[in-house]
Amino acid sequence: MNMKSYKFLFFAVLAISVTVLSGCRTKKPSSGMYGSDNMYGGAIIDDDIQLNPDNMGLPMDGDRNMFEAVMFAYDSSQVNPEEAGKVEAVAKYLNKKRGSGVIVEGHGDERGSREYNLTLGERRALAIRDYLISLGVDPSSIQTKSLGEEMPSNMGHDEDAWRQNRRGVFAIY
């Protein structure tokens, strides 16, 4: 063996020992469940760290039968003039009944990617929220919740079903 291959061998052995030794020091993750090899070692994150949860303690549900749902055009999050009256009725109610509030649920039809439809549903809910605020409703009494395409009101697969599923629902609490 010449000098070069000795060096080669030395570094290989060194590398292996460093890997093995440092591997021993790493605490094995207790939460690991799936797959065979742990590429990066260690737990992903420490379970003790609070990652600023701020939607805990908000009202979870409300009465969905008090007001009509606002309908939306395909791929649009704009509240159409002919639907505006439905939002105004909710604003009137909330402005009168202090202490009450609303969860605005945004929904979409089944076409398109589920994750994109989640953001579209949220934009629909936010558009309704903005309109409610412009009508004097206290922002802290309005929550938005997008359900994307996950909870259709009509289980069909035609234009009619899709039109009924693109909606903003008011859950009053």
């Binding site: 080669f8 570094f11 290989a12 590398a15 292996i16 460093v18 890997t19 440092s22 993750p29 207790s30 939460s31 690991g32 469940m33 799936y34 797959g35 065979s36 090899d37 742990n38 590429m39 990066y40 070692g41 992903i44 994150i45 420490d46 379970d47 760290i49 609070q50 990652l51 600023n52 949860p53 701020d54 939607n55 805990m56 908000l58 979870m60 549900d61 398109g112 990617s113 589920r114 994750e115 994109y116 989640l118 953001t119 579209l120 949220e122 934009r123 936010l126 929550q143 938005t144 919740k145 997008s146 359900l147 994307g148 996950e150 909870m151 697969h157």
Partner: protein, 394 residues
């Protein structure tokens, strides 16, 4: 530092072993013949399962043609069970020179016969070609088979299905943590859409409004996530150490969705509809100007950045969703050949050659394996319920 050493080791080992390997022909035009005709198994179910799964895995890898006499490679050995333990000897020889490429004895339980076959298949592929296999990979996915949308995990051949969540809520868009062990997903189990990680009770992200499409960086330190806390769905980066938030996009007139990380963790690809239709953009992880990646197709959604460097995504072309892949450096794009159905939510298999995706026909979703070279698609999970949003383990 440790990872650099580790990579050094792998490089040294690979360099040493390379000389012995069998030449792999280009793009599956012809395959390496591998003879398993002389491999002996006992009369029990576990060892028979081991051999049949091993043959399927080798064949499905795309690099081998499994035969029972002659051949360029020969697998000798035996698999036997005693009680609940299973033992397999595997010796891989070059047919011409009798040179041994792999010789190992594996021990496991009879219940793990399939798992052992997957491991051996990947080791045979590596010994013969130097390529990483996919057989040991896992798929995280969603199904409505209980009537609720719960999270499941199965092996990459669609078998060994386990239900992970029992929240009776809605699970959306699962993905793997870089450790390949835990799964990040969006769930409504506490009323609002929050981002969760398996094995951890508290949500990773639970701001007011939408928390969705969480993706953990390759180093495990950051979370790319879509939040609407500032009044519009935008892409954010969240430190998983400190919880500190950095907003990466500011598109009052648009939506962002589906972030995924580049293999080196320096860039994020994501969907934005600021142009009027959802298309894929790339941004440095430190923020800055977004670069539009896709322009063809009326929609380009659900990007997944493979360790092979290619971004695979779903593109709406001529009214149906097809699987496309793009090299973000050369910008060269290719659409995979598929039938008339809708193909969505692609995810690179760990071998960097195959893609797992959903196929929707007659409003029913199933899970398919596609080959980016020449082999035919394989149905992995089908039936009378929906299986969708598959994500392959790294």
């Amino acid at each position: 530092m440790r990872r650099v050493f580790l990579m050094g080791c792998v490089a040294l080992v690979s360099a040493g072993a390379f000389a012995q390997r069998v030449e792999v022909r280009k793009s599956g035009e012809s395959k390496i013949t591998i003879n398993l005709g002389s491999y002996r198994v006992g009369g029990d179910v576990a060892s028979k399962t081991f051999l049949s799964v091993l043959k399927t895995d080798l064949s499905r890898s795309g690099y081998f043609k499994v035969i029972s006499s002659g051949g360029e490679l020969n697998v000798a050995g035996s698999c036997v069970s005693a009680g609940t333990s299973l033992k397999a000897d595997c010796h891989l020889y070059k047919g011409s020179t009798r040179q041994r490429l792999l010789g190992k004895t594996y021990k496991t339980t009879t219940a793990d016969a399939r798992g052992l076959a997957h491991r051996v298949a990947d080791e045979i592929l590596y010994a013969a070609t130097g390529k990483k296999g996919m057989a040991s990979g896992k798929i995280a996915l969603v199904s409505n088979r209980t009537g609720r949308k719960e999270l499941y995990v199965c092996d990459i051949d669609g078998k060994n299905i386990r239900q992970i969540t029992k929240d009776r809520s809605i699970v959306v868009g699962p993905g793997w943590a870089p450790d390949g062990k835990n799964i990040i997903y969006t769930s409504y189990k506490r009323g609002y859409p929050n981002v969760y990680l398996t094995g951890r009770g508290k949500p990773l992200s639970s701001h007011g409004g939408l928390n969705a499409s969480g993706a953990i960086s390759p180093d495990g330190k950051s979370l790319a996530v879509i939040l609407s806390r500032d009044g519009n769905p935008e892409l954010y980066l969240k430190s998983l150490r400190t919880g500190r938030l950095t907003r990466l996009t500011n598109t009052r007139r648009g939506n962002e969705a589906s972030p995924c990380w580049s293999p080196d963790g320096n860039h994020i690809a994501y969907v934005s509809d600021t142009s009027g239709k959802p298309q894929i953009y790339i941004m440095p992880r430190s923020g800055g100007r977004a670069q539009r990646l896709t322009s063809s197709g009326s929609e380009s959604v659900s990007p997944n950045w493979g360790r092979n460097g290619y971004i695979v995504y779903s593109s709406r072309i001529g009214g149906r969703y097809r699987i496309a892949m793009v090299n973000p450096v050369a910008k060269s794009m290719r659409v995979l050949e598929t039938d008339w159905a809708d193909y969505e939510d692609p995810s690179w298999a760990p071998d960097g050659r195959h893609i797992i995706c959903s196929r929707t026909a007659s409003y029913r979703s199933s899970i398919y394996l596609l080959d980016t070279l020449k082999d035919s698609p394989v149905a992995l999970l089908t039936g009378s319920v929906d299986w969708y949003s598959p994500a392959c383990s790294p």
